[in-house]
């Protein structure tokens, strides 16, 4: 009984996630695609929670849904014109693209099935926040600082690109 419930939840989420991802790559209206992506990221957060990573799940919502996707929707609203959704949204290589994507997926799935089948774990989910904090400021402190540098560089770069051509010098 305790085992079927997570499986059921996982099945629902998997179907939802695949459906939403398909909408993301096929929707004619980019805005709708972005909203579908937002929902998909939410489902991924739920998957993290299912995997016992509660802090990562909340961060996923906070960073992706509350941050990245809002900026993305923002840019879409600024750069789309009203009738843009009538345009074709895929290029001429879609057959080859689909073939390539399918090939990659199939290869990965077969490999994963062969290697990692039947790896089970029976641990009770415990709060991870404190241990992640200790990890980030302990063993991972060098990458942590490096990432902060990358963020600073991204910030400066974004401001630079955001300036008008005449203000740049």
């Amino acid at each position: 009984m305790e085992r079927t419930l997570p499986t059921l939840i996982f099945a629902c989420m998997a179907i939802l996630l695949i459906g939403l991802s398909l909408i993301v790559v096929t929707a004619r209206s980019v805005f709708r695609g972005a909203v579908a992506l937002t929902a998909a990221l939410g489902v991924v957060a739920a998957l993290f929670a299912l995997l016992g990573a509660d802090f990562v799940a909340a961060s996923q919502l906070l960073i992706y849904v509350g941050g990245i996707m809002i900026i993305m929707l923002f840019v879409i609203m600024l750069s789309q014109r009203p009738l843009d959704h009538l345009d074709r949204q895929t290029n001429e290589q879609w057959v080859w693209g689909a073939f390539f994507a399918l090939a990659i997926s199939c290869a990965l799935i077969m490999q994963f099935r062969a290697v990692y089948r039947g790896v089970f774990v029976t641990t009770v989910a415990t709060p991870t926040t404190a241990s992640i904090g200790r990890l980030l400021l302990g063993d991972m402190v060098v990458p942590f600082e490096a990432v902060s540098l990358v963020l600073l560089a991204a910030l400066v770069g974004a401001v630079y690109f955001g300036l008008d051509g005449k203000d740049r010098t």
């Binding site: 085992r3 990562v56 900026i71 895929t90 990965l108 990692y116 641990t123 990890l135 955001g162």
Partner: protein, 103 residues
Amino acid sequence: MTLSLHHFLMLSAIIFGIGVYGALTRRNVLGILMSIELMFNAATINIVAFNHFLYPDKVWGQGVVIFVMTLAAAEAVVGLSLVLAIYRNIKSVYTEKLNLLHG
């Protein structure tokens, strides 16, 4: 039926494939960015699943996922400001219009 590692891995493989398809076929720069975000997330599902199933008493995988998210945020910010700069210059966000070496 109990959840096993390969269920998560297979799901992430499918999502990754969908992301690859989108990145290869979308005309819109924003669509390509969105597909790349999908691929990122497929990877993070993998990392968290490996962490959970193979090293249940450690959180290194989750720490790595936090970094991935941060870098994705940086990538999105720079990418989107580039998109806006492109839009301001050529009034379009379609990749085939980006055919000038000098704007």
